[in-house]
Symmetry: C2
Subunit: 446 residues, 2 copies
């Protein structure tokens, strides 16, 4: 935990760095923890970020890189030499090195690996096998393991003989002679157990270790549900490969939440990404919206006749579409949350749909009365008021159908429902909104 001085340094860097000399900046950075430096880099525009990074000592660079988000990490790594990179990552944990190396171009990764010791290289190549978004991507090999026949006395002596225990060591693992995982013992248990007991007598069995191929979000759920600090990771044949620790799981949770949040708006970039990259990350979404906006326009186009005769229909028609869009987004949000938390399944989806329908009808009644009244006082046309109220209720009912089924269908098609969901859903409510309002108007007003 940084002390108050170093927090002040962070504040100075963020607020007034432009007034400082390079030497003053370097002094400030020297007094900050690597996570604070990483935060300062993430809060800086690209040019200043590069400058700050260049002021770091090589031994600090690795820790700072490990604390950065993927995009910024890659940017900075692409600016340093292979020698410097090799030196910088040398002391990092396995999962951190793997994170950095796996994003390098193939050529460069090989060059950097070739500069490492054989032992490091083998360890890292093991890590590089596993995809980033699996338990394997979070794997560290700094485990302490013991045999079932050892006594507590032997275990404690063994632990005392270590200079330091690996960080976040809350438990050690029990393995057979051929490294098959069979159980675990917490450090607390070791401390409080009688010295003559064997590992076998003290250890906890029947705990499922994590499979190296499990999805990293699944890993996060397991950690959260069971309040874990660390967990063993095994391969398909039950061999202990290493462990995952809570600090890396917290990062998964944060990144996952960040992506969900950004995904809904079709943005995918770091806060201070350069304009070209930011524009590129967003243009897809805007283009999708352009297509759906033209689809809505084509719907309106069908009704040129009625619009020509009654101009205030054009004034009112966005209300029906927009209310449907908001209601659909609300339903979509609830369904997305339920899907993310794995709360929704075949047995309760029917209930959820009926509930959403009830909510929409309840709110639809209230809002359609409001809309009807306002329209009546504005245009003094009672038929028009009734039409807009009916169109609103129709659109709210369709908003439920879209909000519930679009994400389910997208998920079945293996698309991320958080990203494509809101565009599809609001297209439905735009089209239905214009169709129902202008359609009813065509029937009843001309």
């Amino acid at each position: 935990m940084g002390n108050s001085d170093s927090k002040n340094n962070l504040k100075i860097i963020l607020d007034d760095s432009s007034d400082l000399s390079l030497n003053q900046l370097r002094d400030l950075l020297n007094n900050m923890s690597s996570s604070e430096i990483a935060h300062a880099l993430e809060s800086s525009p690209p040019k200043q970020r590069k400058l700050l990074f260049s002021l770091l000592e090589t031994n600090e660079e690795g820790d700072v890189l490990a604390d950065l988000g993927e995009e910024i990490q890659q940017d900075l790594v692409s600016n340093i030499s292979n020698e410097e990179l090799t030196e910088a990552v040398k002391e990092l944990e396995l999962d951190e090195i793997v994170d950095i190396l796996q994003n390098l171009p193939e050529e460069r990764m090989k060059t950097v690996l070739s500069k490492m010791s054989l032992r490091d290289r083998n360890r890292i190549e093991l890590g590089l096998i596993y995809p980033d978004n699996t338990a394997g991507g979070l794997l560290n090999t700094d485990v302490i393991s013991v045999r079932p026949s050892h006594t507590m006395d032997v275990v404690i002596t063994y632990l005392r003989d270590q200079d330091v225990l690996p960080e976040n060591t809350d438990k050690i693992f029990v393995v057979t002679t051929d490294d098959q995982y069979i159980g675990e013992i917490s450090i607390s248990k070791i401390i409080t157990s009688a010295l003559n007991l064997t590992v076998e007598e003290v250890m906890e069995k029947g705990i499922d270790p994590i499979l190296v191929s499990q999805d990293d979000r699944e890993v996060a759920t397991i950690f959260e549900r069971n309040d874990l600090i660390s967990s063993a990771v095994i391969n398909d044949s039950g061999e202990l490969l290493g462990r995952i620790t809570i600090d890396d799981v917290v990062d998964v949770i944060r990144e996952d939440a960040d992506q969900n949040f950004l995904g809904m708006a079709g943005v995918a970039e770091d806060t201070f990404a350069p304009p070209g990259r930011a524009a590129k990350s967003r243009v897809f979404w805007l283009s999708m919206n352009l297509i759906t906006a033209f689809i809505a326009s084509m719907t309106i186009n069908i009704f040129q006749d009625v619009l020509n005769q009654i101009v205030y229909l054009a004034v009112l028609m966005p209300i029906v579409a927009s209310m449907g869009g908001v209601a659909a987004t609300q339903t979509l949000t609830i369904v997305l949350r339920g899907l993310t938390l794995e709360q929704i399944n075949s047995s309760n989806i029917r209930w959820l749909f009926k509930r959403e329908l009830a909510v929409s009808i309840l709110n639809g009644l209230v809002l359609s009365v409001l809309v009807g009244f306002v329209t009546y006082f504005w245009f003094e046309d009672s038929v028009l008021s009734i039409l807009i109220s009916c169109a609103l209720i129709i659109n709210l009912i369709f908003s439920v159908i879209a909000g519930v089924f679009v994400p389910l269908i997208l998920r079945r098609l293996n698309q991320d429902p958080a990203i494509a969901g809101s565009v599809v859903v609001t297209t439905v409510t735009d089209v239905v909104g214009f169709l129902s309002f202008l359609g009813l108007a065509t029937i009843f007003l001309i």
Copy 2:
């Protein structure tokens, strides 16, 4: 970690519970961990949830309640007697008991407290002082503390004398005789240090403990930045009050992300909330949108004349408004993320605004050419195509101004920018979209 059997039980409960007898259900529940039961309850509609909860043993009820979200927790608590509640929470951790009790009606809380032992009551009343969203709301008093003069030998003997160490004990705290916090020692360090060293020689100083009044999101940031498992909590006069552990911090991170995600759509309810409650939680947002939709309509109303003469303006006008809304939401999302992560400050906001402007102009050029072409091929009117392109660029520029400054202003007014932001921002782009398109049309087309 639940074993595979208990995971299967969870699946059976979720998928086929309606086909099971009460005894079968009870058997399944008995074999599940409390967190799995909590997940099953959160994934069930209210009636089934109540039934499942009623099948639990009283000693299991407490753990399950502690694992539930606030809303469901309160619902279930309101259905059980004071005696049962007192019995159920007895064995929980302090912060868990406080979470449950502080949401009870005043009367009921007093009654439940009066049924507890004096020691428990004092401890809980201490916890109830602190607001839910501060470090105090996460406080547990199960700390182990030692004096600086003790030797490692004494400390280890003391630890060995405990039956079990409190969960997630990765460190113990060093205090003076009047309980002033002065440092901490990790359990790993205790194990690997020479037995004749004193606490004072081994302990880490210069670590800032958490202040009991600190915001819980700040606590989460401190834990994340420093990869903590637990941290000391002190009051203003430096006295050690207890500790916070990572499992509770993970819950804060999850809830925070959940609220951000739901807040953007104006929803605030659990996934299976009953229809009345869900409708109530959403109607405010829908009503706000109704007001803004009427504001947009009034903007269109100004242009009745031009709409009357050129009907296809009504066909095209939603395109400009909708594109502006999407662009503004993208900018808003980036700014909200930056504010949440405390990346945005006075020194970089200017850069960020310029970057957003550049992004909007870049994407605006691409999209306006597209829109212009499509419009030209559709209506074969080159003036109209140029007008819609210009209107789009104008609206995209305003989308940046709204997307950057609305959240900053809302925050200064102490409003949550995630909740009010998107309504305000899309109102701006709707109004500007209609104004610019129909305004330009009025000038150049009639």
